[in-house]
Every structure is written in C-alpha cells, then in structure tokens.
Symmetry: C2
Subunit: 325 residues, 2 copies
C-alpha cells in the first residue's frame, strides 16, 4: 500500500490541494470537479491524516479518558462512544489512566495539547487540579459518570439507584447489614451510591449498618467480605459493584454461609454473568450504552455551540435475582 498524501491526490485529479482539502471539509467544489476527485480517491483508497490538521479551526478527534481498559462497564461505554462518533465522522482517541490519578491528569493535558476537538472524561476522582485544568481548558470537556458542579456532566443516577437497592434489601428486614464499597475519592460510587443505599435501608428501619471500603478488584471483594464476616454478625451484604459481589460470593462459600438464607447479597452492574451465579445475583443495571452515546452527543453539541444541559441523568433498572431474602 502506497502512502498517498493530499498533494498526490491533487496532482492525480489535476487540481490544487486546497480543493482536495475543501472536498473533505465540505467547502465549495464544483460538481464536475467533485466527481473527478471522488474517482481518484476511490481508486487509491485515500483518507486524509486527521492528525496532520495542525492548524484546522476544529479537530475531528474526540479524546476519551477512562480509568481502565479492563472493566465491563468501561467497555460498554467506550464501545458506544466509538460507534456514535464514527457514524458522525469523528475519530475516537482513547487514553487509559490505568487507575492512576497522575496519569489521568497527564492524559487530559496531553489531549488538550493535542488540540482535540473535545474531551470525554471518566474520572477516577475529581480533584482541584481537575477543576483548574478543565476551567482553563480551551477545549470543551464532558465529565462522565461522575457529578461535576463546575461543568457539564452525564451521570448515572447513583443516589436513586442506591436508594432503590437499599429499600429492596431493607424490605427483608435484615438485622446486620454491611456495605462493601469504594474509597471516598470516587464520589459517584464511594459516596453518592453509598448514601443512597444507607438512606434506602434507613427508610425501612434498618439501623445496624457497617461500612467497608477497598478497590474495584475481585480480590478486594473477597477481602472486604472476610473483614465484614470477622467483624461481627452479617445478614446482608450490599456491594458497590457486581465484581465485588462476586468476591463476596467466593468468601461466603469459604465461610460456609448460604445465600440468601444466611446472608443476602446484592451488587450494582448488571453483568450477564450475574444471572448465572447460584443463586442469581440481585443487581442493578445502569444503561452504560446510553451514557456513552449521550456523552458523545453532548460533546459534539458543545463543539457546535448548541445548547446542552449541564447535567443529564441516565436511567437504571433493578434486576431482582435470588440472592436477597
């Protein structure tokens, strides 16, 4: 495959390269010329190099920063972003922060200096540095899955979801409930979702609630479950994610506890696998595809200076399994 440049195509079509550029960017090109160019392009399979648009007034690249490439939910979100942007003629540039906040900040800086058209940010944790960076960013930013009072966000309804789940579990009147959660630095999951759960439980009169926190790994779920069981009696475990619930299942089996007879378990995520556990995991599914697509739509609207809501809230669905009494 020979590498064609715009100059090559221009020469082959017998026009100037400005015309080829206009052809691709929707400028004036006479119909006859347009057809001639099209023929040449088809012939050589030419596509312009998006990254060479160094002085274009706007880039057609959207940067996406995610906390990890290794999560089911992230997979759903970026799949849906990528699909939508591709349809709209944009390129997706994905950067993983690999769970490191310093890398996340670097990624944002990098995207800004790359002069991408817009940034979709799924943050590990929003710090003051994020606020400063975003406030001074010459490029629009949409924050995903995390409340962001100083800008535009598209979020899951973590509080309400937590509340529903708390109420659902609370209705069985468990005496001793534990929350297997995430550190506070992740506001959406660590704080908001947890608060929803607590309030939901309290609305049913549950008062003995013990809190644990760790990271997002399967192992962390196992570990927290163990700590919880060793810290006193437990009749229900509400886990911040399905993955943590998987870990809890593992530990409960080791401790010889039956689900839900001895201990009820619930998670958040709605992974396909959850319905295969025995008993089926009671979980709650956010519409991650919608979150991805709406975020992508929103960033494009910002780029086009169209009005956008400062906050959009995505729906969820509680999936009753058989793991709660």
């Amino acid at each position: 495959m020979k590498k064609f440049t715009m100059a090559d195509i221009a020469e082959m079509s017998g026009v100037g390269k400005s015309t080829i550029s206009r052809y691709f960017n929707g400028g004036y090109v006479k119909e006859a010329t347009r057809e001639r160019i099209q023929a040449v392009i088809r012939e050589c399979g030419y596509m312009p190099n998006s990254f060479a648009r160094l002085n274009a007034r706007e880039s057609n690249i959207i940067g996406v920063v995610v906390p990890t490439l290794n999560s089911k939910i992230t997979g759903r979100v970026i799949t849906s972003i990528d699909r939508y942007l591709r349809e709209q003629g944009y390129e997706t540039l994905i950067k993983s922060s690999d769970h490191q906040i310093a890398l996340e900040l670097d990624n944002i800086r990098r995207l800004i200096s790359l002069n991408v058209g817009g940034i979709l940010l799924s943050s590990i944790s929003i710090t003051d540095q994020h606020r400063e960076l975003i406030a001074n960013s010459p490029i629009p930013v949409v924050v995903m899955a995390q409340e962001f009072d100083a800008g535009i966000s598209v979020v899951d309804d973590d509080y309400q979801a937590g509340f529903e789940m708390g109420k659902y579990v609370g209705k069985s009147h468990p005496e001793h409930v534990v929350w297997l959660g995430i550190t506070d630095t992740d506001r959406a999951v660590g704080i908001v979702r947890r608060q929803g759960v607590l309030d939901g439980l309290k609305s049913c009169g549950v008062s003995d609630i013990r809190l644990f926190s760790g990271d997002y790994s399967y192992e962390s779920g196992q570990k927290m479950a163990k700590e919880a069981l060793e810290s006193g009696p437990v009749t229900a475990m509400i886990c911040a994610t399905d993955r943590l619930a998987f870990g809890a299942y593992h530990t409960l089996a080791q401790f010889g506890k039956r689900i839900p007879d001895d201990v009820s378990v619930a998670g958040f995520g709605g992974y396909d696998e959850s319905e295969l556990l025995s008993p089926e995991l009671t979980t709650l599914k956010f519409d991650s595809y919608a979150l991805g697509q709406l975020s992508a739509e929103t960033i494009l609207r910002l780029i086009r200076n169209e009005p956008v809501p400062v906050k959009q809230v995505i729906g969820f669905q509680l999936i009753p399994g058989k793991s709660v009494k």
Copy 2:
C-alpha cells in the same frame, strides 16, 4: 491551561527550537542547557505533540487494532500493551473494528497513512486483503492471537489448548459431545482450537461429536446450546469461550439438565466469574497479559531492527472446575 508549543519553550529557555526537539529525542544537548530546558518544561508541564511529528524518521505511536472494545480478553490484552508501551515512552492508539471486517481493513489503512511506528493487529479474520495490505505496508505489523504465515505473530497455543481440553473431557468418556464454536473465518478459535478439541476427544476414543457455530455473544451460546439439545442426546458441551459456556449454562437450566450429571460443560477464557458458577466452570486460561506485553515488545524490536521470532506461542493453564464429570 495555556497551550505551549515547542517554540514557546524554546523562547522561554533562550534556545532554538531544534534544541528542544533534540532534548526530547535524545540528541546532543549540553548539560547546562539541558537543565535550563528541564526547569522550563517542568514549570509549564509541557509535553510535545506526538502527532505533529509529521516528518520524523520514526513515530512513537503504536497503533492497536482490536475486534471489539467489549471483551474481557481484549481488555486484558490492551491493558497490558498500553502499560508496556507507556513505560517505553510510546503512545498507544487504539482502534476498534467493532466486529466489522471492512472497518478492520480501514483501521489498518488509516494507521498506515497516519504513519504510526508500528501496528499491533488482533484480527477478526485474516483475508487476502489483509495479506496484501500487510505485505505492502511500509510499517511493521505484528499479528496477535491469530496464526499468520506471511509475517510475525504472537499467538495462543490454540491447538494444544484445545487438545488438552478435549482429552480432559474425553477422559470421562462422554457418549455424545457437542462443540459450540465460532465461524471458520476466525481461524484461531473457529478452526485451530476446534481441531485441537476434536483430536483430544478422539485420542480418548470419543467418536460422536456434533459441531455448532455462532458468534461470540452470550445469546449465541444460549442458542447453540438449544440447537444442540434439540438435535439429539448430549452428554458434554465444549464451548469455544467461557461466554458461550455461560449461555449454555443458562439454556441447560431451562431444559432442566444438571451439570455435570446430565451434561458436562467446559469453556475457554478463565474469567474470574467462571469459578463462581455453580458448578464451577471447567475452563482454560490463556495468559492474555503476556500476549499483550510480548506483542508490544515484539513490535518495538521490529522498529529497532532487532531480530524477532516469526511466531511466539503463549502458554495456558487448564482450570479444572466441577462442571465436567
């Protein structure tokens, strides 16, 4: 955040921009000058724009083409690639083909015309067009997870893995075995893995083996399992992936079949969830992190003109669950 360019940094450091460029690309810079530049860079958090290296002799961007962003295994592979490349000072540019072969070809063309340093390709299916594209590519390509006789590949040992699994299941002397597979266009899984399984089974004297094929989805697993059960007696199901096995579990439950008493089930993938199924799924785990890292190492070696094996085979581990009699 102001956007600094190399010219800004040059001015602020009181040197020419060639010197800044050399600073970043390991050229000669006097120690004193180097320190002065470093101070300025630290001050402004400047990073050069990798995509503006239009006429660099080599790019520090590695393109990665994956069939989907929505798979556990892909997640593991790209996580490990991204980590390794970052450590080595390279950028990862991920492009998803979203299960469309035409898009995959486009992605490869695109990366070539972007003039990335190298391409890591996880292909849906290697066609003649791929061969032509790769043969004429001015840029090195490493094919991942798929045999590639016309170039460099890093692959799972699909045949041997299939064989081991076939033997493992075969040892229980199941009378009627079905293979829930993937279309032939995916050679690695659709053909090689299947052949390994068949040979493994035959080595144990199993002869009644019926073959089914579909796509990689959970639903496809359900559907194939249903077809299999309706097509005649079944005492063992070997599934091309864990996800398909999850679908089979679902269908078997619907049909009132017990695992493994009525039907043995096995998969490939080694997902964490597999050990939580009841009974635990017998599966086989490829070392996807190793595959990612070795592929990344290999592409860098190719770029540096260091010798590389034409084919590297990654190990696997059979994880006996309780789903095989």
